[in-house]
Amino acid sequence: MELHILLIFMIFAAILAIEVKDLLSSVIAMAAVGFALCLAFLILKAPDLAITQLVVELLCLIILIKATIKKDLPLVIEGRWLFNTVSTLVFIIVFLFFSYIAMKELPVFGNPTMGLVRRYLLEEGVNKTGAVNIVSAVILDFRAYDTLGEVAVLFTSIIGIMAILRRKGRKEILEEDTNGK
C-alpha cells in the first residue's frame, strides 16, 4: 500500500519536473523522485540500495544545480506543434506495447527466478567470506570481477570529463612554459 502511494507520488513529481518552466524547480522535482525511490527501497528491505540512492541523488542534485543554474536550455516548440505531438504519441504507443510484452515475461513480484542461488548465498555466504553483509560479500567477493568493470567505467568517465572540460590543452601549457622560460 505504501509502495503504491510512493509510486503515484513519483509519477506526479516526474510530470511536474517536465512541465515546470524554471530549471531549478525542475531539478528539485527530480530530487523528490529520487527521495521517493529511496523510501521505496527502504520499504522493500534493501538498505544498501537506499543509502546509495540517497547519496548519489544528493550529489547529482548539487552537481546539476551548480552546473546548470546560470544557463538556460533553449527549447524550441513553436511552429512544430503538430509534428511534435504526433511523434510523441507514436513513441508512447510503441513504448507501452513493447513494455507490455516485456512485463508478461517477468516473474511475479516477490518470487525471483534464481531461488537456488539466493538460498546458497544466505546459507554459505558468511562461511565462505566471513562478511556479515551479504550484499558486500556478493559485490566484492563472489562478483568482484563485475565491480572491477564498474571501477573501469568510472575511471574512463573521469578521464573523458577531464579531457573534454579542461581549460587548456596540453600543447598550450607546454608552449606557455617554454615561452615563459
Partner: protein, 148 residues
Amino acid sequence: MENNKSGMTLFVKTSSRLVAVLGLIFGMHIILHGHLAPGGGFAGGVIIALSFVLLILAFGKDAALSKLSLKLASNLENVGALLFLIIGLLGFSGGAFFLNVLVKGSPFRLFSAGTIPLNNVVIGLKVGVGLFVIFLTLVILEKSKKEQ
C-alpha cells in the same frame, strides 16, 4: 580560509566547517563498516566527496583546493584503481582472480572477511576522489567561462 571576500556568509562558513568534518568521519565509518552494516565503498566515497563539495560551496574554490589539489586528487584516483586491480591479482596466490586469500576471522568483527574491507577502502578512495574531481572540473569550467 580567513579572508571573507570569497564564498558565502559567515553563518554558512561556520556551520559548514562543522558539518564537513562530521560528513568526512561518517563517510569513513560507512566505508570501514561496509562488511558489517549496510553501506560500503561506493556510498561512503560519495559521502566523503559531498563533504569536500560542501567546502567548495561555502568557502569558494581556492580554500578546498588548498586542502586537496586537482593533481593530487587525480593521482589518488589512479592509485585507487590500481590498488583494486592489485588486490584482485593477489588472489592468484591462492589460485583464482579475486580469491579471498587473507584470514577470514570471526564474523561481526571489524577485522574480518579477508580482502573485503580492503576492497571497500580502495573503492571508497577511488569513488570519493573521482566524484570530487568531476565536480571540481565543472566548477573550473564555469569560472573560466565567466572570465572570458
